[in-house]
């Protein structure tokens, strides 16, 4: 099934790109964190990004919704180019969901209020409809019974699933995951990954920074390996894991796969 999808994606037209990065650079002060990124993400494509810490993988996906600002090159998200135009930035952010390593739920709001906030204030959806959507996605992440609790009353895994539901409530066209399981206790990782796999099966376009290689093997169309601000290797999961091309990729894989 996945192979067929990949073929369809490869045959896609050029206007089928969800994200397009052309020779994109970013510096933190003098530190050249992203050094000429060229990346094209098709609609419906699922990409896993891995690499050693400090390689720029988080920064890369944070540039897509401009939590970080790139300084050179172009980023085009769903046909809109990211510039200083604040209206465009807000428009893109509304279309792009993001899940953080530390969940970043709003602790002063109940779970259901966390979920309805975006639709109410950004999409201007009526309250009843927003609440209905919120309950729908809470069901989907198997956590509907917690709707009226506060984030602090939930476990880490539950909080992360709420965070995913919160992003989905905005009906995003693209989901970014920034190490979604790194801050979780081992026994909670699976419940979050399961939700992400379900999401993948529904055809969501996803960019996932993670070291969960099992997840990469089962859902990714492509795996990118980053090091020193560059995309060193990009390949299908099968090729990537069984037949890595670069020395650095091999070294990295040997370190994380034991």
């Amino acid at each position: 099934m996945k192979a067929q999808e990949t073929r369809e994606l490869q045959n896609g037209q050029s206007d089928n790109a969800m994200v397009e990065m052309i020779d994109m650079h970013k510096w933190f002060g003098d530190f050249h964190v992203l050094q000429g990124i060229n990346l094209r993400v098709e609609k419906g494509e699922r990409i896993v990004i891995c690499g050693p810490s400090g390689s720029g993988k988080s920064t890369l996906i944070r540039c897509i919704n401009r939590l970080e600002e790139h300084q050179k090159g172009r980023i085009i998200v769903d046909g809109t180019e990211l510039t200083h135009n604040i209206k465009n930035i807000e428009k893109i952010r509304a279309e792009v969901g993001m899940v953080f390593q530390h969940f970043n739920l709003f602790p002063h709001l109940t779970i259901v209020d966390n979920l309805t906030l975006g639709p109410l204030w950004v999409r201007k959806v009526p309250k009843a409809e927003a609440e209905e959507t919120a309950m729908f996605y809470l069901e989907k992440v198997h956590i509907a019974e917690q709707a009226h609790k506060y984030p602090g009353q939930l476990s880490g895994g539950q909080q992360q699933r709420v965070a995913i539901a919160r992003s989905l409530c905005m009906k995003p066209k693209l989901m970014l995951f920034d190490e979604p399981t790194s801050a979780l206790d081992p026994e909670m990782i699976k419940e979050v990954l399961d939700v992400m796999i379900e999401l993948a099966q529904e055809g969501m376009t996803m960019l996932v920074v993670t070291h969960e290689m099992g997840f990469a093997k089962s859902v990714a169309h492509r795996v990118l390996f980053m090091d020193f601000g560059r995309i060193v290797e990009a390949n299908t999961p099968v090729e990537f894991f069984d037949n890595p091309q670069h020395e650095r990729t091999k070294l990295f894989l040997s370190q994380i796969l034991h």
């Binding site: 970043n104 906030l117 204030w121």
Partner: protein, 367 residues
């Protein structure tokens, strides 16, 4: 006998020693647990025995309540007559004697509104309209000139209504201004940031008294001829500007306590700056800084008594002027105790309310 039975009989038989329960146990645990604490307890009790009974004797048993100033001089205890005989002047000052029910009604209305607003269930849109209507009625009562109420110049406003006017409007206007200044100081726009910094540092660099002087004496010199601005209003503005600078710094502390992740989560949903601040950042930041904010509000409330130096007759000044009357000269402890009790009631209800608010706001979020 089984083991379970053995355990049961044992637990039933053994009771805690008498010295560990009841009054004796409490005293042993809290008053006499050690040589030093025992000595401290005895010394404290001796001091209380020396101070409290004479105080009660002075204040209640030997005191006189409804006499002339002359009769007071023969009394052994407190002369509360200085308060009761002059209570209307202390509270209302130069407000026309026959119309003093009007400031009284205005104050009662104000207390009623404050009491109604303290319940968070009432924090809805209609509360704004209730306050607008309430303020209009209070203004009408104080100022008059409509509906057959005789007009009373604001120069005659004095005593407790003036103190409440200066403090309550001072505090309610200073709070939002302080929040705006705090946001300004953290703004990415250089102009906004520098304006806020200069403002906050300048105001914090001068004492309130000098601001009041400027508002009373220097500011009118710059106004075009023929234009005057009400003196109370000028003092009010000085108090607002002063308090706002302090609130701004406290709120800034709360904003800095917020993690970067909260901003990023809000922004990544597409919320704009104002929505992020209003819905996500401020509700959390302001809650963190409730205790220091209330400290500032309490000290600002007490600082309104400084307006005496620009010849506004607030509660403290009317009390002083009663004591300047030869008949009542020398009874200042009684009069000042009365004023202190009024201030205490104001400050204590503020801090009590802040504790209640903190408790309510963090009810669900504790973990």
């Amino acid at each position: 006998m089984t083991i379970a039975e053995t355990v049961e009989t044992q637990t039933q038989d053994i009771k805690p020693p008498v010295t560990h329960v009841g009054i004796l146990g409490w005293m042993r645990g809290n008053l006499f647990n050690g040589a030093l604490n025992s000595i401290l307890t005895i010394v404290t009790m001796y001091l209380l025995w020396k101070v409290v009974p004479p105080l009660i004797r002075w204040a209640f048993i030997d005191s006189v309540w409804h006499t002339t100033g002359k009769a007071c001089r023969h009394a052994a205890g407190a002369c509360w007559s200085v308060v009761w005989d002059n209570v209307r002047f202390i509270l209302f000052g130069f407000y026309p004697f026959d119309s003093q029910w009007r400031p009284l009604a205005a104050m009662l209305l104000l207390f009623g509104l404050l009491f109604y607003s303290q319940n968070r269930k009432h924090w809805k849109k209609h509360l704004i309209y209730v306050w607008i209507l309430g303020l209009f009625v209070m203004g009408l009562l104080m100022k008059g000139g409509l509906f057959g109420l005789s007009s009373v110049e604001s120069t005659k406003w004095s005593g407790l209504p003036l103190t409440l006017l200066l403090s309550i409007f001072g505090l309610t206007a200073a709070y939002p201004l302080g929040v705006i200044l705090a946001l300004g100081r953290r703004s990415k726009l250089p102009t906004m940031r520098w304006l806020s910094i200069v403002y906050i540092e300048m105001i914090r660099g001068v004492p309130l008294i000098s601001l009041l002087f400027m508002s009373a004496i220097i500011f009118p010199l710059f106004l075009p001829e023929g234009i005057t601005i009400n003196k109370i209003l000028r003092a009010q503005i000085a108090i607002i500007l002063f308090t706002a600078a302090y609130i701004a710094e406290v709120v800034r502390g709360g904003l800095q306590a917020m993690s970067r992740g909260q901003y990023e989560a809000a922004e990544s949903m597409g919320l704009n700056y104002f929505q992020t601040m209003r819905l996500i950042i401020l509700p959390q930041a302001l809650k963190i800084v409730i205790p220091p904010t209330v400290s500032i509000l309490i000290s600002a409330f007490k600082d309104t008594s400084l307006v005496v130096i620009i010849a506004l007759w607030d509660l403290l000044k009317t009390t002083q002027s009663v004591l300047a009357n030869p008949e009542w000269m020398g009874f200042s402890p009684e009069a000042y105790i009365f004023v202190a009790l009024l201030y205490f009631a104001g400050c204590f209800s503020m801090s009590g309310y802040s504790r209640k608010l903190e408790r309510e706001l963090s009810a669900g979020e504790q973990q």
